[in-house]
């Protein structure tokens, strides 16, 4: 048994490393178009995986996760554009602002359960959205914040010996490393003793308190972690797209991330990443038919809920018949 576990662990680490290297190789041979697409996909995958810490692992269904993505995006954009801070500092600040926003909202949200928790996360996301939407002088209001200066990343292209790399190609590598660090951190958390405590809360919060778990504190902590990662993702996304818009944190965006996570499968670590990648590809393909996008999303959600509640990852596992584990 112990040997098998060790093998599994080594295999997983090998597969994750292979995935990382494979993604790292993309800008060296793929056309820039794919690099741009994949950059956004990586960031959004990381975002929906951070939501899964709450939904899948702790049983906290947040309807407002995009708020922390948006807070990070605005923080990073403003610090780069208005304060002229370096990219690295702004990105760290994006995480900090996402975490701070989550701490404020989470302080109240974790006191409630089930649908009341969800409604309160939605309420806070609307408040954060309204502040950013209305604070014209700072955020540019409904026009958004455009013209965020692009960081100078020539040191990357020089370091890897490809001076011909465009800034987008170099930026992709930055995104990849930051996302990989976030994913590694999430993996460490869910595999740790804290991860098991999260799952006891998901399964039976009251029983969890009776084995001595301070469930509110644990829930607040994971809410802040998820918000911090969402903030980092927002910072990465804002700079790459050179703008932040109120849409980033609107409730429909929160719903979209939640759907991505559900679509991929919240019963697994990688499911939400698969879900977001698939939905983004689908979106890419139907982009000419924008009016059908909501329709497609609705149909997907319908089929998903009725036929495949464990998502794409659940289907995958059914076919490969691997043991259910998390």
């Amino acid at each position: 048994m112990a040997v098998k576990t060790l093998d599994n662990k080594r295999n997983r680490l090998l597969m994750a490393t292979a995935l990382f290297l494979g993604l790292g190789a993309v800008p060296f041979f793929a056309p820039p178009f794919y690099v741009v697409f994949l950059n956004d996909a990586l960031i959004i995958a990381c975002l929906s995986m951070s939501l899964n810490l709450l939904v899948g692992y702790t049983g906290l269904i947040s309807f407002g996760h995009a708020a922390y993505f948006g807070l990070g995006a605005y923080a990073c954009g403003l610090l780069l554009k208005s304060a002229g801070l370096p990219f690295g500092v702004s990105l760290v600040a994006a995480g900090a602002f996402g975490g701070l926003g989550a701490a404020v909202a989470g302080f109240f949200c974790v006191r409630l359960n089930r649908v009341y928790f969800s409604m309160l996360t939605l309420a806070f996301s609307l408040i954060f959205w309204a502040i950013c939407f209305r604070w014209n002088d700072l955020t540019g209001g409904d026009q958004g914040l455009s013209g965020i200066p692009y960081p100078n990343l020539t040191w990357i292209s020089q370091m890897i010996g490809r001076p011909d790399f465009s800034s987008a190609q170099s930026y992709y590598l930055v995104s990849l490393v930051v996302v990989a660090i976030c994913i590694a951190a999430m993996w460490i958390i869910v595999s740790s003793p804290v991860g098991l405590m999260l799952r006891t809360i998901r399964e039976n919060e009251q029983r969890s308190t009776f084995i001595g778990v301070e469930t509110r504190r644990v829930k607040l902590a994971i809410f802040i972690v998820a918000g911090t990662i969402a903030g980092l993702a927002g910072g990465l996304f804002a700079v790459f797209n050179r703008g932040v818009y109120p849409d980033f944190m609107y409730w429909t965006k929160s719903a979209e991330i939640l759907i991505m996570a559900l679509f991929g499968g919240i019963g697994s670590f990688w499911g939400p990443a698969i879900g977001s990648l698939t939905l983004l590809l689908l979106h890419q393909e139907t982009v000419a038919l924008t009016e059908y996008w909501s329709f497609a999303l609705g149909v997907i959600l319908l089929v998903l809920t009725l036929r495949f509640p464990s998502g794409l990852w659940g289907l995958f596992e059914r076919f490969t018949n691997t043991r259910r584990s998390k």
Partner: protein, 251 residues
């Protein structure tokens, strides 16, 4: 019976009202020595309410609960658990999506203060202790199953295992044999007797089954309409006329 400083548990002048209904109307008792104490009483006598007040699930309107010398009516169930007051529930109450192994492991992790650690990965840590506890309650061959795959009697044993993993000084069991077949009940009684002897735990149980109560308890507290009407050893309780009238007489 006066409370003394070295009592494990003292309940003093406890009152609780729900929407005008007086569920607990001035209850006093203490647990000093002795191994197994039982609270009995007809349905609606307030047994479960009393348990909830003692274990911090509900707050009393008046009165005080003292555990190991310190007042604990304001404490959360989690901090009471860490101090050694552990309970089980009337309905089977486990972590359904986690394996039997993880159910027990989780309680050990929490008790050992590792619940906030994010490194190293948990894996099969504490496997020896999980095994030991599972053997004590007789589910050692079921560690890889999910609770829902267990027969009802084993689910209750798992619940007991989770409680034991918290290393209780005082273990409150709410109807430990409720819903069990007579075979399971016999097994559960033998198990509880053995655990009390082996692990040096004080038990406070509520129970409907008088056979169970009289074969386990050294002391019986009889509750009726939110008040204690009798408190003594099994012989006294059996002989008590008022107990016969309100309770034993009916069954």
């Amino acid at each position: 019976m006066n409370a003394s400083a070295n009592d494990l548990l003292t309940v003093r002048a406890l009152r609780k009202t729900f929407d005008g209904f007086q569920a607990i109307r001035g209850v006093d008792f203490s647990i000093g020595h002795g191994r197994v104490h039982a609270v009995i009483g007809p349905n609606g006598a307030g047994k479960s309410t009393l348990f909830n007040l003692i274990t911090g699930l509900d707050r009393p309107d008046e009165g005080e609960v003292t555990f190991l010398g310190s007042p604990c009516s304001h404490m959360s169930p989690a901090s009471l658990c860490r101090r050694g007051m552990v309970r089980s529930f009337q309905k089977s109450n486990t972590f359904l999506g986690l394996s039997v192994f993880e159910n027990i492991q989780a309680a050990i992790v929490s008790r050992s203060g590792e619940g906030w650690k994010i490194w190293p990965p948990l894996g099969r840590r504490f496997a020896d202790e999980v095994q030991e506890i599972a053997e004590q309650v007789g589910i050692a061959d079921k560690l890889d199953l999910l609770p829902e795959d267990l027969a009802y009697g084993y689910q209750r044993q798992l619940e007991l295992a989770i409680a034991l993993a918290s290393r209780p000084r005082l273990l409150l069991l709410d109807e430990p044999t409720a819903g069990m077949s007579s075979t399971d009940t016999h097994r559960a009684v033998a198990l509880l007797k053995r655990i009390v002897e082996d692990l040096n735990i004080v038990l406070l149980i509520t129970e409907h089954d008088m056979g169970v109560v009289f074969s386990l308890a050294e002391r019986i507290i009889v509750l009726a309409e939110g008040q204690i009407i009798a408190d003594g050893n099994p012989e006294d309780i059996r002989a008590n006329a008022e107990v016969k009238r309100v309770y034993l007489g009916k069954s």
